[in-house]
Amino acid sequence: MKEKIKIALAQISSRREDKKRNLAKIEQYTIRAKEQGADLVIFPELSLTGYVVRDQIYELAETIPGPSTRKLEQLAKETGMYIIFGMPELSEKTKATVCNTSVFIGPEGIIGKYRKMYLPTHSVFEEKRYFRPGYQAVAFDTAIGKIGLCICYDIFFPEVTRLTRLLGAQLVVYISASPAVRRSYFEILTAARALENTAYLAYVNLVGVEDGLQFWGGSRLVSPAGEVLAKAKYDEEDFVMCEVDFEDLKPAETFIPTLRDLRPELFDELKKSSERL
């Protein structure tokens, strides 16, 4: 496993319902990342289709593997790149049951996927109407490190990132489609989730205007001490290269020993109390 990896934060806008065009953009940015020496390139939540697609989700969702992941598998193989992106995933066992999924592809093929656990359904969000929630946190032991996947609103629930970290993730990749009025929350929470778990956290947000929503961008890499190491522009497409040094986890964990100090019995109490809310 590499101790240092280079990451490209590919903060793109998507053309809604135009998978062909979005795949072409993903390909273009992946090649650019390769040229700049990146090991991993990360794209936003639902970047394959756009975010505000409503009922069209049933036409756009694909199985994994499926046509789009096969194209990106080929791209990863050709470039030697690792790619993380978001797409609506059609369950193989059904005809119209869809998850909001983050997909992790490498030169060796599909490494894994994560289905968003917390689906916002309030204010402008209507994800529970369309998506089945995921039930499993994930962390993958890969040639470029131990990497976990989470999506957007999951960040408001510290147990998701914590579980991902406890599964072994040293870099937690959050893909997102966050509209501008919520920017401050994510700026706070990305730092908090990284710090409290002493893990790297890469956050890649969508940009562009979809219906009335304006996605704010601001993608970033946060250190295990909560420091913003690299940051993309607000509100416009951007491409930012940054580096993760897994050696930095050691001093972070010794100085901020939150994992050592974990109290498992509190989780039992948390479960009981949350059931009684």
């Binding site: 069209q56 706070i188 009335g212 304006q214």
Partner: protein
């Protein structure tokens, strides 16, 4: 306390019990709002593949503001400001004010006198009653809409609407008339916020403070008809937006609870004006109910 200084846009007040219905409650980051509105207009014009926008320019603050924002977003040469006077409500000051803004922002303008078609309507409607102001006035608003859409179709442009949040919540507009548009850039701003935004982007303050009128009949006053100053109405609506109880709103803004209840009832009663026509549920997916598609595919 959450680090409020990091909140960049309009959502600064999130905890109901902390809402104080004072004028400061309506303060927004004007620079940020102006940027977002311009980006919204620019994106929709570009993605729709049209050549610009058509705005009705009555000389009032809402239409002056959307015309100016459009010009800042896509260039004044791509904005057509239509002035649509008619003899009963004709006021040369309105034309002058619209022209002032058009000159500042380089907006193209066109005057179309709509008196003749209006008189044609009056003469051709057998039950037409000249004394009944509202039905007659609504013909004017809908006729203006026809002119806006004719120019938009002919010139391959979008109609940029001037509805604001105060009048939209109150239903203070003509159904299928002045609210008819392709995009509505200031729909999420209360009237008093629009006035501040107008000054921020360079509209002269005397025009920003000009009393609003729908110009459906002579000397019509929006505040007169609504029975309340916008400075107070906006605070009431702001409280309703944040789920505050009528009693609490009344206490904070210095109104009787019955007055707030009256505003609340009106807001709820006119939802039909803000939506597609209601249809009985008969089939698999129903337009306007559970046929849920993106507003546009752009």
């Amino acid at each position: 306390m959450l680090a409020l200084k990091y909140l960049p846009t309009t959502i600064k007040r999130w905890k109901r019990e902390e809402v104080e219905l004072k004028p400061t409650a309506l303060e927004v980051n004007l620079s940020d709002v102006a940027t977002r509105i311009q980006r919204f207009i620019r994106t929709y014009v570009e993605n729709a593949g049209v050549k610009g926008v058509v705005c009705g320019m009555s000389g009032g603050i809402d239409s002056n503001t959307i015309a100016a924002l459009s010009a800042l977003a896509i260039g004044g040469e791509n904005v057509l400001g239509l002035m649509l006077p008619e003899k009963e409500t004709y006021n040369p000051k309105d034309i002058e004010d619209a022209k002032t803004v058009a000159d500042i922002f380089g907006i193209q303008t066109q005057i179309c006198d709509i008196t003749a078609p209006l008189e044609g309507f009056y003469e051709s409607i057998p039950i037409f009653d000249p004394k009944e102001k509202l039905s007659k006035g609504n013909i004017k608003a809908r006729t203006r809409m026809i002119y806006l859409y004719y120019h938009a179709n002919k010139l391959n442009r979008l109609v940029c609407g001037s509805s604001d949040k105060s009048e939209t919540m109150m239903g203070y507009f003509t159904k299928w008339g002045d609210a008819a548009a392709d995009i509505a850039p200031i729909l999420d701003l209360y009237k008093t916020q629009v006035r501040k935004l107008a000054v921020h982007i360079g509209i002269p303050s005397d025009l920003a403070e000009k009393p609003s009128t729908p110009a459906l009949w002579r000397n019509q006053s929006a505040e007169g008809e609504l029975g309340i100053k916008y400075e107070v109405l906006d605070l009431v609506l702001f409280g309703l937006e944040r789920f505050m109880a009528s009693k609490e709103i009344a206490e904070q803004v210095g109104l009787e609870e019955s007055q707030v209840e009256k505003i609340k009832k009106r807001w709820l009663a006119v939802e039909h004006k803000r939506r597609l026509p209601l249809s009985p549920k008969l089939e698999y997916r129903t337009v306007g109910t559970d046929f849920r598609l993106p507003h546009s595919i752009y």
